[in-house]
Subunit: 333 residues, 2 copies
């Protein structure tokens, strides 16, 4: 038997989650059964979308259940195998995050070929956040030559990839992020104009100054005032890829939408929401492009790392406080 | 000299327009100059979008100027011609509405072939409102087999055409309109479910009952609570054609957008605003389809007619009070 710990949802958060919403439990893992492997997790991800799964409402992902381990992406190492497809030492990508280790059917895991990248990159730039940026820009927003691109949450895991993919393709990019450190980083990776929204009394004016001729594409991770500013700055036929609205994920009462939404009529704006799981088919193309961009020095990434499973709730809560630059990760094992 | 009257914008409305915002002036028309014709208007249209042009803000159409005649679609008859392309008695479609008559270059007018339809149909079902319905459904919403269609403002000039085009193409159609008379008419032309929003305490519940499996397409003429209900009822990958938001055109302060807008993410909803002038290229296909549908008895229309130029402000104001069934028109001449 192997003893592992896991983080369970103890109670459903109201507003911003607190430590009281989580509990740590100890689980004894038997030897893996036929077709199963045992995995020791090395890295787990926390992502904003998980907040929605903590509510007891129907959504695109089913709600987390009280008293059960939370779920999410993780990179682990096979420690015992009872299946010929995986052997001890193999790295695997799974959805069994929020725990130190687990038994699972080998067929439920994806063997990871790190291709020279650090394994945890496959939870960020080379994983779902990176593909989210790629699919949102290229497919949902239909990025085309000459587009001026505005990105909110630009220093986040998805946002920073949006910035760099757009820059790699030759676009003018305006990013919004909170705080001088994030602004400096975004400028260092080539973002043309960076708005520090926390230091800006008037986001509309700041965006108008950053994009005097308007924007063609808006990649929304934030919603709220950022979406309103983007509508005001949009050129005719602008396309908005709506990826997230982190500004309202912890709202305890309905948050009104932008009061200038009617601008989508006169400006012929297309606004499209999406979740990355419908675009997994783009993964091979994304990885091919990403490898090229990384080799050319056009795409890089940052990680904000919390150490140890016990810190997973801190890492998660920190997402909503903007404590991460780039990908928020928890290092396990 | 011919004496004609025209309606001018006397002051910019705050909220719902009143008679004080309009004034009637008398103008003397000289004989038409070289290349010009003189036209006596027979019909003029009033449309909700004109409200936006009464504000002094930049939009897709420039604002109406104070002290100048208002503009809009009109059907007239040539009374004098100084150009070989038009002769007295010819019907013309123009943008010189809100007046009894005018002189204009023949090149600025479109000669009308009524094809057996009453001429004023070309201000409604066979004109811009009809094309708006056609382009919005087929191109913007990308109507496809099996779609369940929800239409707000369903008894209006555009909405009633949306209902009938969708029915002609075999779809389940749910319409929302205000008042028993409109509801009865929509049922009589085959709309499957009609919501009387004025008699409904909970539009969300009413739409959920009318479309228990959800909606695939929403054609929005209204905005506000209707848009919110449509978001709640939307199936995954629903498409929203945003044509108008009459519920907010007279707002005197910013009206918040729907508080459930974030549903576009999890449901992968595409929401696209449009104005018909970018889709004039579809007119021949629309007229061909419309002729067939009219001949088959699948498309009909209603008119609400005010008599005389002096009544044009009443007709216009009536749009925002829902006083029209089908196309709101002013009969001139």
């Amino acid at each position: 038997m192997t003893t592992v710990r896991e983080i369970r949802l103890k109670s459903r958060p109201t507003g911003l989650p607190t430590h009281d919403n989580f509990e740590t439990a100890t689980v004894e893992l038997p030897a893996p059964g036929p077709g199963e492997v045992q995995v020791k997790n090395l890295w787990m991800t926390v992502d904003p979308y998980m907040r929605g799964r903590m509510n007891d409402v129907k959504s695109y992902s089913p709600p987390f259940q009280l008293g059960e381990a939370l779920q999410g992406g993780a990179i682990g190492e096979v420690t015992q195998s009872n299946d010929p497809s995986l052997k001890p030492g193999d790295l695997v990508n799974s959805f069994f995050g929020w725990r130190d280790g687990f038994n699972a059917p080998a067929s439920a895991l994806q063997k990871l070929d790190p291709r020279g990248l650090p394994p945890q990159a496959f939870l960020g730039a080379a994983g779902m956040p990176g593909l989210t940026a790629y699919a949102g820009l290229l497919k949902i927003a239909g990025l085309k030559d000459g587009d001026v691109v505005f990105v909110s949450g630009a220093a986040g895991a998805v946002g920073a990839m949006v910035c760099q993919i757009a820059k790699a393709k030759g676009h003018t990019v305006i990013g919004s992020a909170g705080g001088a450190e994030k602004v400096a980083w975004l400028k260092s990776i080539g973002v043309d104009q960076v708005i520090d929204y926390k230091a800006t009394p008037d986001l509309n004016a700041a965006l108008a100054a950053a994009a005097p001729d308007g924007i063609d594409v808006y990649f929304d991770n934030v919603g709220g005032a950022h979406l309103e500013a983007a509508l005001n700055a949009a050129k005719p036929f602008a396309r908005f890829a709506i990826c997230g609205m982190i500004s309202i994920y912890n709202a305890t009462k309905p948050e009104p939408g932008p009061s200038n939404l009617a601008q989508i009529i006169g400006k012929n704006i297309r606004m499209e929401g999406f979740i990355v799981s419908h675009h997994f088919g783009m993964m091979p193309a994304f990885i091919a492009d990403l490898s090229k961009w990384v080799a050319e020095g056009k795409v890089t990434w940052k990680e904000t790392v919390f150490e140890g499973l016990d810190k997973a709730p801190d890492a998660f809560i920190g997402l909503f406080r903007g404590e991460n630059m780039g990908k928020m990760l928890v290092k396990l094992g």
